[in-house]
Symmetry: C2
Subunit: 200 residues, 2 copies
């Protein structure tokens, strides 16, 4: 049974998808803490509705590593094993990443390495991609860069807007994030160079 913490900044729809899968017994994990860096994140309200411990650690005006030390202190106090970023709009410091080697997961709404950074769906549309998708990856020191655990492709349609494409991708995000967390919590993955392989 792994202790999982969720870090979010907004609605946290991927947090809810992870929570659903965990509460349904599909993942050997329990959510021991939900952290938001934004006091008004709807995700905090959802967390409390679901009876998770939920704290806001405001980030405005705080230096990156000083902030991360505050967060890690809260995680350590709950013996957190795995950290899931679910729309957490801050880059983690190297120091934070090193505290949880290969135990921090993030989800990104494109097939990385295509369209990293913000507004990936808009980037995909403007590039004229015909296929996009989403990626769950381990977090490393670089933005949207760590080893990839699961990816899922999604068609881009001629009539798509940023909203319709985002919605189609989000549906798949809600599928693959629980799948990836399950693999990690069951210790089924090993990383060779950048390749994440399923342990036999």
């Amino acid at each position: 049974m792994k202790n999982v913490a969720i870090l979010l900044s907004g609605r946290g729809s991927n947090f809810l998808a992870l929570s659903d899968a965990i509460e349904a017994g599909q993942i050997p994990a329990r959510i021991v803490l939900v952290v938001s860096n934004k006091p008004d994140a709807p995700g905090l309200i959802h967390a409390r509705e679901r009876n998770y411990e939920a704290v806001c650690i405001p980030s405005a005006g705080i230096e990156r590593e000083a902030y991360d030390r505050q967060v890690v202190e809260e995680l350590s106090a709950r013996q957190v094993d795995v950290v899931c970023l679910a729309g957490f709009m801050r880059l983690l410091s190297s120091w934070f990443v090193q505290q949880y080697p290969r135990q921090i997961l993030n989800i990104h709404p494109s097939l990385l390495p295509a369209f990293p950074g913000l507004h990936s769906q808009k980037q995909a549309l403007e590039w004229g991609a015909k296929v996009s998708g989403c990626t769950v990856h381990f977090v490393d020191e670089k933005l949207d860069h760590g080893p990839i655990i699961v990816q899922r492709s999604v068609p881009v349609l001629d009539q798509d807007t940023e909203e319709t494409l985002s919605a189609r991708i989000l549906e798949q995000e809600h599928q693959i994030y629980p799948e990836a967390l399950k693999l990690v919590c069951e210790a089924k993955v090993r990383v060779e160079q950048r390749r994440v392989l399923i342990r036999k």
Copy 2:
């Protein structure tokens, strides 16, 4: 009925896929010329076996645009409408591209903009991508960069080698290149910024 020229440097398996679709009457086009820059390209032999006019215009030691002018002279003499690159291992000059605006197609074994350049399948494996694929795009002045007509995704498996992944992608290349050429020959596409949209 569009006059199509094929440019290749090697075996030209995508040339054969295009030829199969054209000879089966699936594309309103005829292949009026096959050009290789390599005298020993197996694609030239295949072309002659299929009774296409096939010429070698050797490129070794010739300046880019000077070479391209030799090729375009041959294309012009056959009233070529559409040019398909099928493993043609040379970058076209801007001058060549401008002679056939939005009428030069290329196929690339990745989901562009991911993994441009050479050895895309090896790049995808080494990056640890879980999804890759192939792209048919219009050729512009930059390498592997023009507007995308069709893309198709392909899973990357844990046990994949460069060879097995390449074979899985190639199977889809042989599907989407004829699809894309059909759209172009039927004048069914329009380009808005970088987006290639199907005309209603």
